[in-house]
Structure formats: C-alpha cells, structure tokens
Amino acid sequence: MNDQTQISREQRIEKLQGQGCNRKRVEDVRFTQGKGNYVDDIKLPGMLFGDFVRSPYGHAKINSIDTEAALKVPGVLAVITADDLKPLNLHYMPTLAGDVQAVLADEKVLFQGQEVAFVVATDRYAAADGVDQVLVDYEALPVINDPHKSMDDDAPTLREDIAGKMEGAHGTRKHNNHIFFWEEGDKEGTDKALADAEVVVEEKITYQRVHPCPLETCGCVASMDKVTGKLTVWGTFQAPHAVRTIASLITDIAEHNIRIISPDIGGGSGNKVGVYPGYICSIVASIVTGAPVKWVEDRIENLTATAFARDYHMTGKLGATKEGIITGLSAHVLADHGAFDACADPTKFPAGFFSIVTGAYDIPVAHVGVDGVYTNKAPGGVAYRCSFRVTEAAYLIERMINILALKLDMDPAEIRMKNFIKKEQFPYNSALGWEYDSGDYHTAMEKALEAVDYKGLRAEQAENRAAFDRGETRSLMGIGIAFFTEIVGAGPVKNCDILGLGMFDSCEIRIHPTGSAVARLGTISQGQGHATTFPQIIASEIGIPAEDITLEEGDTDTAPYGLGTYGSRSTPVAGAATAMAARKIKAKAQMIAAYLLEVHDGDLEWDVDRFQVKGNPEMHKTMKEIAFAAYSVAIPGLEPGLEAVSYYDPPNMTYPFGAYIGVVDIDVDTGVTEVRRFYALDDCGTRINPMIIEGQVHGGLTEALAITMGQIISYDEIGNISGGSMIDFFLPTAVETPNWETGFTETPSPHHPIGAKGVGESPNVGGVPALSNAVIDAFAHKGLTHSQMPHDHWRVWQTAQKLGLTE
C-alpha cells in the first residue's frame, strides 16, 4: 500500500488543506515578488499603442475634428474617429443595460472625458503627442448635472440618437432624458399601511456618486492574427466569456475565432465588468494595422470615464407602531445613470436587487419605485464591491431605521432586535418578493453587542455628552450600528441574465494519472484568492490535497463558459459548480474502487481521501490509487479517464448577513473624525478559508471607510468633473485606516452544495451604514436626523456649525 496508510486520519485531513483551514494564499508567492502578470506587463513584437482624445466639455456639439497635425507627429500611424467606425457600424456599442453607448463621440459629446478620437502610434509617448495635436471644434451646449432637473420640461435633450423613441429597454420612457421606471411591491397596500401607521418617518437620503478606483486601471492588448483569422484580446475583464460573446456579436467575428484572456487583475470592484470604448478601438486598430495594439488608461481616465457607482437619490418612508414595530416601507429612487445607461445589472433588474431594501426586518408590506435618468456625467452604475444596488438599499433601510429609533426615542439596537426576521421564519419570503435562504439575526446581533460591550459604550457616550455640555470636552462620541442582509450569487437562470446569457457558472476538473488535478472555472479572480480557496473545496470533496490542484481561470479557449466574478457570485455559483463537478468525479471513483476491491458500489464508504469497505477500513483505495487505475485498468462498462464538468444554475440567491458596530470620536471644531473602533460580525454560511474571509472583510471595510468618509465624484454646473484625480479622490492609506475587528457566526445556505454564501461585498454593504450612522449618532442628541455622505472633515464641521456647536 502507499505511504498514506502510515499516517493518522487527522494527519490525512490536515494534509488535504481543505475547507475551513487557513490555507496561505498561493497567489501571493508571485504577487509579493513583483512576478504578477497584468495587462500592462504584456509586450508583443511590433505592438502599437492607443490613446484617446477626450472631451473637455460636459455637453457640446462637435463641429469638426482636424487630424492633420496629429498624423504628422512622428510615430503616429492613425487617428480613428466616429466617421471611421460608422461604415463598420461600430460607432455605437450595446451596453449591458440594453442601451447603446458611443464608442467614439458621434456629432456631440455628452460628458467630460468622453472618447472623441483614438490615436494609434508606435509608442505610448507618440500616441500622447498625437492626442495633443488633434483639433476638435466644439460648440458648448447647456449641461444637466443634477438628476432632479433631467426631466424638466425645458431640459435639453441629451441623447439625440434616441430622441423620440419612447420605448426603452425597460419599458416606456416619460421624457427624452428618462431611461426607465421600475417598481416592485404593493403600492396600494403600502400607502394604506403608511397612512394608518402610528408613526411615520420620511427622509431624503443620497448615496453620492463614487468610483471603484481599482489599483490597476482598465486596459487591453488586442491582437488580430491575419494569417489564422484569430483575434486574441488580453484585458482587465471580470467576465471574459461574456466579453467574447459580445465581441463576436458586435464585430461579426465568429466566436471560435475570438480568444479572451484575463491575466492577473489588480482589483475590479465592478469597474471591470463593463465593455469600454478602449477595447473596441484597440480591436479595430489591430484589425486595421495588422499589429497588436495596447491601450491602458491612466488614473484620471479611469476615474472620469470608466464606470462609476451609486449616485442614488432616495426618498424613504417608514411606518411603525408606537412600540417600534415596522408596519410598512416605501422608497423612491432617482437614479443618475449618466450619459449612457451602461449599468451592469441582470437584464430584468434595471435597479439591480434594490428591492432587498426591506433588509433584515420582517416588514409586512413595501413598495419601491426607481426612475433612471440621463445626465451629462460618465456612464456606469456598477456594483462597487457590492451586489447589484444592494449597498444603496442597505444604506437606505439602515439610515431609516435609525431615524425611526430617534423619533421614538428608542435604542437603535433595540429597535432592530424588535423587527428582525426570526430564525424560525426561514426560508422567509420578503414583501418585495425575495426568498431569504437562512439566517439567525438575533444571535448575530447579540454576539456583536456583547463583543463591543454596547451597554458600556452607551454609558460612556452619555458621560461624554454631559461633559461636552459642561464645556469639559470639544469631542463628541458616536456609535453606529448596521445590520445588513445581502443578496448575492446571481443567479438563477430563470430570472438572471446579462444580455440574454444566463448567470450560471461552471467548473471542469481533470484528475491526472498520478492523482494531481487541474480545475478550470468560468470566473476570474481579481484578488479574491480563487487559486487558494477553490482547490480547498475540491480537496474536501475528493481527497486530493489542495496543493496538488492547479486552478486556471480567465482564458476562454480553455475555461468552461461562465459569467465571471462580481456580485459575490464566485463562491455561491462557481463554488457550487466546483463541488458538483468534484462529486461527479467521486461517483465514478467509487465505481472504479468497487471494481478494484471486488465489492459492490454500495459496500463502500468515503473517508477523507479514500473509499473503504464498510466495516473493513483496511480494505480501501485512495483517490491517488483510483486516479491511476482510471488511466491504466480496463474496467468493463466504464470509460477510461477521470474528469468532470458542471454547469451550475443556482436554485436561489444566497443571503449573507452581518452585524457591524463602529465608534467614532469627532472634534466639533475641526470636523476631524477618528474611527476609534470597528467590529464586523459576518455570517457568510460555510467558511472555506477563514483567513481569506478576514482579508476580504478588511479590504471591504477599508473601501466602506473611503466611501463614507471622503469619496465623491461631483460635477460643477458647467460639466467639469471634480474628484477625478488622486488629488481629490479619497483613497485611504494605513494612516486613515483603523484596526478592524472581526467575528462570525455560521449559518449555512441550505441550497448550496457546501452551504457557502459569499463574503467579498458584505463589508462594503454593512460598513457604509455603520460608519455613517456613527457620525450622525454623534450629533443625534443635538437634533441631527440625517446628513449626506461623504462625512469628510469639511462637511462634518459644517454639520457641527449648523447645529451651533462650533466655537
């Protein structure tokens, strides 16, 4: 027998490095040595470089584009404009939301930074010099930068290309600048519940426009091989297969002749889901020149022209009894989608999963309505480290419930406990149509309150407030609670698709004769650590050590079809496919083992890494032995080889949840806000790798801190973007980032093969309301019910000043 018989069962389990262990990230060996392979690392012989001429105007007519001087710049080979793309029908491209977007501006520009011309040159510097020499004659037009004014009677029509077409991708448009109206729930019932409620609170809550700002900007290298007719594109794609299909549909290149490769990706956070003009222009330029063409954005281009997030202008209304039991919720959202509707949502959900807005609470009746409008801002509307519009929804309900608590003079923790969906109510059908899979909210909340000594904190806050009033301190303490329910893992093909492509995902596993394996998935890691965690799932399922399993993703020529990584969907969907593919292998392995041991299948049982005869564990075959037999023994009725593929269509979403508590100290005279303490309890179901979960939570909380405390992309009245560079856009460093404390409960998903729910986005969803609630709580006793984010020092100081607290 082999050496594994000599070691104990515990040692065999440990050797697998399977589910639940803190396996170290295998990716980090190359990342920490600077050996990652990102798009900008790709260098091909004869490669050319592209760069964009971009609009300085928010809204302007293009009278002419003069490329003559640019073409005289040494090294410049071509300048592509909309007129060059028109004969190819490529001057517009479809967006993920059923709209079209100009690849290069066609007769007018609609936002500052919009792509106007693409200069192709022999090196990056020559391309930039060429851009400088393209003369565009603009005629300024009136700008709409406030979504509340988009549908005014006298508002200028922004999208002349679709003016008068009142049937949009999501129903009837009410105005030329209107995109869609979408609603869910019982309007009549909700209106009645609110009219009958003993207490009603209403608030306008804006979630400001921000940007995911991944460390690596977007880019690609397009290479058309004129001999084979094959187009290869390396790019920062969070959904490589979808990009291949879309590229085939819009270029008419047969899909088998397109190969999309996502190499290492330096962070995505939703920013790399969409299709950008740079990809199309690079492909066209490569086809025209016959040479590979690289396009990589600079930071300003990334912040100003690629997909933004949020920009939701919400009005919430909550009805309740005097005892604080919520009786109804209504919400209306004015969604600013910018100049083109390029929102990355499942097709049937133009406002994403915003209808998760009833949150963790048992709310009997609710209604939401969302109006999407055009403005002179960059397109986008991506899920910046949150599932589709979930963070907006969580922010609204978690602010509204605090406002209700304030009105009723109740503790924010107590009012939440009163309204939570109870453990025994799961699976729970929400008023807005979701079936929550599992949860135990009371336990999670109690554990979090205990972890931070909540009562002690409130006592300390009472003392602090008294001391402030006595003039003994100029600092106010705020405590913020948020309890969120996420909805991730999109999703069931019956209602979730992107451009018609069902949102299943996939895994293919091949076991090699010597018992090691390769697994290929339809997803793509952007830092989530897939190469570490997915082999852990396989290890626990079929007893091959994680270190003996190679994980491959991102190459459409080799990976099975999948919809990619965003919306915390990798573990809920591709993770499930991985377990299911492994189980197919296990089923065949059992037949092989039965043949080798000369027993019936049913006489065998699985144990860690082997099949053994029931009641006689000495008689067994390890997975390693079975693998070799699969390639060496002729077994009657069985094909040789040991591999399987699974395409997993999830029966439901998963619903991770968490209880977050933050404590801040605010200097009222300067607005300087210190996060003294932050505790995050997450329940993401079965935990595959606790260390990676903790890392994900740290990263997401840091992004939540960034959004809450400083990030904003704003526009001035003439269409200039501010916050479009690192001078203004807040990206926290170690200096601003507090020590994150984490905790967990574990409530498995009943419908997921291994019970996992996904975690990558929870900290953003819960972190933003917890921090915002903490800042507002600091002033609650002085009469503040709400103040808009970001809570940067300047705005916090203004709040203190308005309340008459500053000296």
Binding site: T304, G719, N720
Partner: protein, 150 residues
C-alpha cells in the same frame, strides 16, 4: 467663478481708458502673455501661457471688446483653447471712477474653465485667478503710471 476688485491708478480716466484699448499695454500686463495681435478696434487674438497647479498650457484665443462707453466703462471678454488641458472663457466688466487726481478701476471678472485645468486645478483655480487678476491690474497701473511720468 466671479471675482470683484478694484485698483487705484494715478492717471486720468481718459489715459486709463486708452490703455485698456491698447494691445501693447495689455500684452505687457497680462501674466504669461506671449503675443497679442490686433484684428480690429474691438477684436484681438492672444496667446497666453497659464499654469494652474500641475497643469501648464498655452491658450490661444480671441478677445473681444464690447459695451464701449469711453471713458467710463467697457467689457473685455474672450475664449481660449488650451488643447487637452481644456478651454477657458470669461470676461471682465470694467468701470472707471474719478478719484481725486487719479482713477479707481473697478472690475468684475467671471471665468469658466473646462477640462483638465478644472479637474486637476479646481482647488487652485480660485486662488490662481485672484492672484493673476491682481497681478494684471497692478502691472497695468504700473505701466500707465510710468508712462505718464515719463
């Protein structure tokens, strides 16, 4: 952005008004002005190098004089294109008030800046515009005073 200010000049309104219409004087007084060409009595073209924060660009543009009401007031306006750095447009209403032997020049400047200048320099534009306006009118006063002295 709007800027309001005034500048005392030790010369008569007529002398100041003439100088405000004198391309050579303007060229000398405008910070970063490389060239001014007179097209007609009320039209000029100018090339100005401007630096705001991290962005430096050469603006080429047309300047127009209007609302001429000698020697009391006029409006100077213009639009300049700075390539990828962005565009700027703006104007100034200038009023001359007799002030003893001299003239009090009152100005009301409004500026619109587009593109990279606005993106990168937004926090610097107000202070830069104030500084440049003050610099212009100080220099302008100095030129007139030295001319009338000589």
């Amino acid at each position: 952005m709007e800027l309001i200010g005034e500048q005392k000049i030790n010369a008569s309104r007529e002398v100041v008004f003439a100088a405000l219409n004198d391309a050579e004087v303007l060229a000398e007084a405008i910070p970063g002005c490389e060239e001014i060409e007179k097209i007609s009595d009320t039209e000029l073209t100018a090339t100005v190098v401007l630096k705001v924060g991290p962005v430096k660009a050469r603006f080429k543009g047309a300047v127009e004089l209007s609302n001429l009401n000698p020697p009391e007031s006029y409006t100077i306006s213009g639009e300049g294109k700075g390539g990828i750095a962005g565009n700027a447009s703006g104007g100034a209403d200038v009023v001359l008030v007799e002030d003893g032997d001299g003239t009090l020049l009152q100005y009301n400047v409004s500026v619109k800046i587009m593109g990279k200048f606005a993106q990168l320099g937004s926090r610097l534009i107000d202070s830069t515009a104030k500084k440049l306006s003050a610099k212009f009118f100080e220099k302008f006063a100095e030129i007139i005073e030295s001319k009338s002295a000589s």
